[in-house]
């Protein structure tokens, strides 16, 4: 049973780790968009 739970847990750890990387990338991109909006001539 331990190997079964280890496999299922590992699967979800991998997926959650990837999803958290995506969230971090999205936040970083949001910051870049905010910076661009603040610059004159491009924000509008």
């Amino acid at each position: 049973m331990n190997f079964l739970y280890a496999a299922y847990t590992a699967t979800w750890i991998i997926h959650i780790a990837y999803l958290s990387i995506l969230v971090q990338r999205y936040r970083h991109l949001q910051r870049e968009i905010e910076d661009l909006k603040k610059k004159p001539g491009l924000g509008a």
Binding site: M1, F3, L4, A6, A7, Y8, A10, T11, I14, H15, Y18, L19, L22, R25, Y26, L29, E32, I33, L36, K39, P40, G41, L42
Partner: protein
């Protein structure tokens, strides 16, 4: 589309929970391996999903290379149609097929490949096929990682070893490494030719997918023989649970690809704006 995303996400979460319940509680326990066999319900659907994503990456890479050239594009269209027809002919006219390969599997695979090619062509511009190629490779690597992690966790109690350099296992590891190198090329190369080089690498990389898939038919391997479409047998309840889990993982992969694709498009727009800003900067500073 924005409203559809949370609905799809909720449905996927429900489906994944139901699939987990089916895998742990409903599926019958295998007589020789016991409960550890239930790893199969995560391992196999993850492998099929990874193969599908790598195939999407292959189709997008081909389209990215051929669509700017009208003649090459027409040739690719006809080759794709020919593959679909050839698969049907091979399945139902030419006999015998290699041992244990079901004719319906060959025909369905051929027609699905052709259908997917034209679907991607219809809904994605050449630039967006490049974005979809990156997305499908990245998500495919995640699912392939799951395969490479769950496989040894099944092998240790069943075979008594974590890993063996068997054809199926080695070719899967090579496939994973090819797509890791593809993603590293996309991430670190700054050349304007990067998408073209990456598309060429992806086309060669995709050649490993059939080798991985058919290795257990062609070679004598330690990996278990196929249970679907290969003449093997599986309990109907186990098959049902396997298919439920595959549908759940497909929906999950679709959901991740959807978010990642939006992120990729947004990222490209930001990069374009930053490049434009860099061009405008000397004028504005005068």
């Amino acid at each position: 589309m924005k409203r559809a995303f949370p609905i799809f996400a909720m449905l996927t979460a429900v489906l994944l929970s139901y699939a987990l319940y089916e895998a742990l509680e409903v599926a019958p326990t295998e007589q020789t391996m016991g409960n550890v066999q239930r790893i199969f319900y995560y391992h196999v659907p993850s492998a099929w999903t990874a193969f599908l994503l790598f195939f999407i990456n292959f189709v997008c890479s081909v389209q990215y290379l051929v669509r700017p050239n009208q003649v090459a594009d027409k040739v690719a269209n006809w080759v794709t149609i020919a593959i679909g027809i050839a698969a049907c002919i091979a399945a139902f006219v030419i006999r015998p097929l290699p041992a244990n390969i079901e004719p319906s599997s060959v025909a369905t695979t051929g027609l699905a490949m052709t259908g997917l090619y034209f679907l991607i062509k219809k809904y994605f511009s050449p630039e967006n096929t490049d974005a979809l190629a990156v997305v499908s490779a990245e998500v495919g690597v995640v699912f392939c990682t799951v395969v490479l992690v769950t496989g040894p966790l099944w092998a240790r109690p069943v075979w008594g070893i974590w890993w063996t350099w068997d054809v199926r296992l080695t070719s899967t590891l090579v496939l994973w490494l090819i797509y890791i190198s593809y993603l590293m090329l996309r991430r670190f190369s700054t050349s304007s030719q990067t998408p073209v080089l990456a598309a060429a690498l992806a086309i060669f990389g995709a050649l490993d997918v059939p080798l991985v898939y058919f290795s257990i038919w062609i070679f004598r391997t330690q990996h278990p023989q196929p249970v679907i479409g290969g003449g093997g047998s599986i309990d109907s309840r186990m098959l049902q649970v396997l298919l439920i889990n595959w549908v759940a993982f497909l929906c999950f992969a679709g959901l991740i690809c959807w978010s990642r694709y939006r992120l990729e498009i947004l990222q490209r727009e930001v990069e374009e704006t930053q490049a434009l800003e860099a061009l405008l900067e000397p004028r504005s500073s005068r």
